[in-house]
Symmetry: C2
Subunit: 446 residues, 2 copies
């Protein structure tokens, strides 16, 4: 995505009509607190993974109404002139705190909190949720896959199975969840992620035979390349692949298996490679993998996993189910009031919240969420419980904390996720459905 | 998405390495036929819906390597200088035919077929699949929902639950599948889709009470607006909503219900509205709807459906499972050869294919797919079977058929889908899992 594109119209119409009505009724300037949180984890998973924070900050920076956007809104008649003037001058000038990217989260974790006027915060709802719901879903799936892979590299190859720009964001989120590379070039350019991939079946088929195709690929990419060996017959494919590399004076880097029973095939191919003396030639597998298939391949002699569809679609849960709710706002008397919708089925806890993770002997024990007027008011409760504070400043009076979106942010997020996941109790790493890895405890001081 | 953005890096690295190796081995210029098709329909659905054709044509038009793209590729060292020169001059100059947007498709339907050199076709694989797999998935879900809605309007509101640019494409695909409007402003601007939406719970909560919020909204949007009545207590909410509109001198347009048991609530609220004399006030519902929930609301007095998560994520199947395969290519002797991967689990049928739908007494009976060297060769078989030809020219010698991506294309696609779906046998409209609505019959003339 060109970085100079405005994100202002990636917005539900009702954010604009609410702004318009709020400007007329006089509540637009009321100080407000909006919170992003999940009422539950999808599919009774054990934890979620915060991802997309850097993209949220980009989206906030690019959230401005230029001439083209204003002209189009004016033409629709969705809002009046006063609102158009407001939009023309719009820059988010409030504060944002949130879980640092890569951190694990749980039901009720205040993943992101915005403080500002009602008007400036409400406008950002749609794009913030879009980014976080997508990226957290992919990172959460990625983390389960890298857990299942037990240190073997996982590579993202799902671009073709999702929207073309989602693919780029998915590659980034996958890295937050522990992936080592991506197939998609734009993700390499935008985020510095190592790109991978050598050839598809079409490359073999366009040549007159497999020997010619392998020779061509080795000539272009060197013997250290990965040859796809299942276009015709795997056994002959492996034999030809090893020979093609040796003819070029080297040992083959890897073979790729993309169909059939991967567990059985991995053993057969490993034995064949070893018998051919190609002990250093690796095996990579790529056919419809998810965290369960990866786990099932754990005992097979596989060296890396290429994951497509299931990764970029969140392994059955393509959205993180995060919501963006007003939890406190200024009243007519100038004092802040906690608010929450009354619905029994969609429960929210009102008020500004501070969160910490209680860690005992290096193992996470509890997500402590304290409703208090400020981080400072809640700090003693966190300290008393021995909780590590989870929120970091991301935007202060409209100024973005560059360390959370700059070039080092992705690597830091991936490292943070590894540490945060390592801290979970053993139960938290299980792939099966169950309770969150740690319980969330709400404390209200106000 | 800015329309002048290059799509060239929305591409898997292996398309570039295959190009590089093919240029070296001399097969890059071989005439080739690539086909997009699905081996099966997701979740044993009855039919798929072609969507995204106009976006594919946009992506092809914007597939060019400018200075920025070339500089970055050069820096990665993924390809050699000859390939960089090829990319700098790249413009797709081949032919594309495909099912017209909105048409139903089935397993084995040749949804899109590209003819050109291996090099020019292979490069487009990733972005074409990204667009079609996403858009067809959403349109297929949308079509099931509008079938279940039996003519009541369905409105797309899922932007917040998917990637920010997927949301825009999803809104468009939803219209192909019969949706009447979208919440997301950019979809209104980019595709002329009517935008909808009035207010969220936060708007009620930022005011001192519900009366103040309703009065503010009615003042801004008029009494014909839709008021969200479930922030506190639905019964009182409805009463206040009707009063707010009447105080402003009108009758309320609609109430929106966003939580609880929607079926029971719809009856209660309808009775209350009628008792209040607000017989013209409509009821719209919006909480976690999918095609089954919509069907369950069929007997309830509901006037429209707002659908979010399940629509934009394909109702459980966020990708259409379409693949892009080389099915024929020129041999060393200059003659075309049908090709296909030999894998038993990933079966393909080789050769250029012509498709027609056999319709008997107005009811679709069979998808007839004829492998022959050209449309002309296959035409007599289609004619003999009484089959309606399904493929239309989309790109001819690099020139895009503007009627398939211009301003009228979306409306035409929606109308085409209605007609195509209406033609399916009754079984084809069922929401339950089952066999495709019609069988696919392959005939090979070559």
């Amino acid at each position: 995505m060109p970085t100079d594109a405005s994100t202002a119209l990636l917005t539900d119409r009702y954010e604009l009509t609410m702004l318009d009505a709020a400007l007329r009724s006089g509540v637009a300037d009321r100080r407000s607190v909006f919170e992003v949180f999940g009422r539950r984890l999808p599919a009774r998973r054990r934890y979620g993974v915060v991802a997309g924070t850097a993209r949220v900050l980009d989206a906030i920076a690019d959230f401005r109404f230029g001439e083209a956007e204003l002209a189009w809104i004016a033409q629709t008649g969705v809002v009046g002139d006063e609102t158009l003037d407001y939009l023309a001058a719009y820059r988010f000038g409030g504060d944002v705190i949130g879980y640092a990217e890569g951190e694990c989260f749980f039901p009720g974790s205040p993943v992101l909190t915005l403080q500002g006027t009602f008007a400036e915060c409400v406008l950002l709802e749609t794009v913030i949720l879009s980014v976080l719901n997508h990226d957290c879903a992919v990172a959460s799936a990625a983390s389960r896959m890298t857990t299942a892979a037990h240190g073997r590299p996982c590579l993202e190859m799902g671009a073709r199975r999702t929207h073309e720009w989602s693919a780029v964001a998915a590659a980034r989120a996958a890295v937050v969840g522990g992936f080592a590379g991506t197939s998609v070039m734009e993700a390499g350019r935008s985020y510095g992620i190592p790109t991978i991939g050598t050839a598809a079946h079409s490359f073999t088929l366009v040549h007159d035979d497999e020997e010619a195709a392998f020779a061509a690929q080795v000539a272009a990419l060197g013997p250290g390349t990965t040859l796809l060996v299942d276009t015709y017959d795997v056994e002959r494919g492996v034999e030809r692949a090893v020979r093609a590399a040796r003819t070029a004076g080297g040992e083959l880097g890897a073979v790729r298996l993309d169909s059939g029973d991967l567990v059985a095939q991995a053993f057969t191919v490993r034995a064949q490679l070893d018998a051919l003396g190609a002990a250093t030639t690796r095996i990579t597998v790529t056919s419809d993998l998810d965290e369960y298939a990866i786990a099932a391949l754990g005992a097979a002699p596989v060296d890396s996993y290429g994951v497509g569809t299931k990764l970029v679609t969140g392994s059955g849960h393509p959205t993180a189910e995060l919501v963006y709710k007003l939890v406190a706002r200024e009243g007519a008397d100038g004092k802040m009031v906690d608010v929450a919708k009354a619905s029994a089925s969609k429960k929210s806890v009102g008020g500004f919240k501070t969160a910490g993770r209680v860690v005992e002997d290096g193992v996470a024990a509890e997500e402590l969420v304290v409703a208090a007027d400020s981080l400072a008011d809640a700090a003693p409760v966190l300290t008393a419980a021995g909780a590590r504070p989870l929120q970091v400043p991301l935007v202060s009076a409209g100024v973005i904390a560059e360390e959370h979106r700059g070039p080092g942010a992705l690597r830091a997020a991936a490292e943070r996720h590894l540490a945060s996941r390592a801290e979970l109790p053993y139960e938290g790493w299980r792939l099966s459905e169950g309770e969150p890895a740690i319980p969330t405890r709400h404390v209200t001081l106000t």
